[in-house]
Symmetry: C2
Subunit: 384 residues, 2 copies
Amino acid sequence: MKPVLILTLAFLFMTSSFTSGQTSSVVEDFKPSSVNQPGKQYPMVNSEGRVRAQISAPNANLVQLDIGGVKYDMVKDENGVWTGTSAPQDDGFHYYQLNVDGASVPDPGTKYYYGAGRWGSGIEIPAHDQEFYAYKDVPHGTVNEHIYYSKLTESFRRAFVYTPAEYRTNPGKRFPVLYLQHGSFEDETGWSSQGHVNLILDNLIAEGNAEPMIIVMENGYAYKPNPSGQGRPMSVFEDVLITEVIPMIDTEYRTLSDREYRAIAGLSMGANQTMRITMNNLDKFSHYGGFSGTSNYPSSDKIDTKTFLNGAFDNGDEVNEKLDVLWLGMGTKEGEPFPGSIGAFKEMLEKQGIEYVYYESPETGHEWQTWRRSLYQYAPLLFK
Amino acid sequence: MKPVLILTLAFLFMTSSFTSGQTSSVVEDFKPSSVNQPGKQYPMVNSEGRVRAQISAPNANLVQLDIGGVKYDMVKDENGVWTGTSAPQDDGFHYYQLNVDGASVPDPGTKYYYGAGRWGSGIEIPAHDQEFYAYKDVPHGTVNEHIYYSKLTESFRRAFVYTPAEYRTNPGKRFPVLYLQHGSFEDETGWSSQGHVNLILDNLIAEGNAEPMIIVMENGYAYKPNPSGQGRPMSVFEDVLITEVIPMIDTEYRTLSDREYRAIAGLSMGANQTMRITMNNLDKFSHYGGFSGTSNYPSSDKIDTKTFLNGAFDNGDEVNEKLDVLWLGMGTKEGEPFPGSIGAFKEMLEKQGIEYVYYESPETGHEWQTWRRSLYQYAPLLFK
């Protein structure tokens, strides 16, 4: 039986590779991904949203394309070049990697992005609505890398600060400010890189659909020094933002510093953080945006407004008065605990008579296309 | 004889691996590289400047550390983790990669940099003089990503613009401008990433050793559209810089726009380009810095000033009058054609009685430590 078994396994293996990589149903209209390194043809994307990766690894035993939680076996040609094709992916940006004989590595064909806790490969599946973050011949703002020393964390920290085109051309004018946060295992680079914050705002502003605004993107991880190394590190992000970053931005940039001109938003972990920060500091913020997250995460239990966030939502009228915009959004393909926890939060808002805006990004999951669209929906509502 | 031969080869192979990877003379004081990804322990660097890389690749046959033009075989442990150690490297920043069964890939432990024609791994060998680009609690300038549409190339282009801290805090003041170029197979990101332009200037300015200045870092590759696809693409970088970038910067930033307040410098290919641009546009530039390159590259022949750059150096007195600073530098470990071509250029300058400053970076090659030091030497001489 043994030889038969081996042959059967070999056949299954080949069939399986064939199925995941090269089925006859694949539409052969692949083009290089828009976020490839200069001059690189691979990875490619087709009109179905499939990703085709390729790498030369003449002496490898097994190379896989690892995307969307699935590993696709790649196939080696006579020159030692491996090629593999994924199932269709959702519109927008995805992190992924290659696996070469057990080594999980970035694809040398792509530019690199910080997310999922590492700098690694990204790919862009062209979305039907990609025009809202396209490069257009409109006035472009700049994204400024801003280094500062934080006394609270006793470390150098970095924010990226978007200033609109008019900030350069109209030096007498002051601007409102949006503080915009990334998610867990991401950092301060996300929004201005894979998030396209600058292109989204440049386009909205040029169309007259958003107020020119400054956008500050900080790193949501900030810890008190812990020289003993004992216990869990204590997050001081709220203190860093409120007592260090906001005063610095208001001093060094031409801001409108009244609360009515200060908004905040964040995605996932950033939504959770910024909701807490907003409700703890209603004297400082007038607009809140929660992209794919709320502070009751990950619970989908009914919210008790007496205790939740120290009773911050218990007086609905006061919240309505303080918050010009309370905005929530998520993707239709997001899995639990997001629909459950955001749903429970919405129920609480409705019970309390608190006004809010709710948006669903069609056919996207807990990924950047949902958050790009969320910003595109949220920004026009600010500072009106 | 065959088995003996095979055993001998195997022995030689093992010995060779042993020698390059784990010799008894290696000083075991390795520390994580300063440019690792957050939380990553490897790669490490020791006090001799050796690099030790590590990667999990349980099913690989051969993994190599590829740095400084040498491939070092790595050794696999019982858990499938490969470790390898290089010979001592020069001080400063180096590009490198790993090779897994023939696949040349970035090391997933490091941050990524554009150079050598790809985004890939970098490592930092701590230099004895690293204080000049260290993070210090001094006022920090910002590095601004500036997108614009170029009519000449019919494409969106990007510059990075350093503005000194005083640009934010002293809004009535205008500043001189240095245009600073990268080398071949690099791009506009190099100087503000691995080049540390912002930290070098922040520190020099804080010490009172350089004038606060704006620094514009453009992409030196710019081509006229070539719809036919026939023939070589035609570089229009000089036109882009002179007719598009400089007017844009002088319009949108608070610059001092007289020629006496405009300097230029570049490294390697950028030195070659900027020397031509300077000599073609002496009405626009008053300071020139050539880091590891001159426009007679790669020739080391005696320069005929009647013909070289259309006779631009033929009248030495005129050059002395026009250029406040003509600065040349290179590393002592640079190989040909750099010493030869720069040497021939210096001989020409001396023959013509043209004043220049010459700097040699000790014990560094055609790499970023030479260029960081060159900027550190050049910037204090500007706009005096």
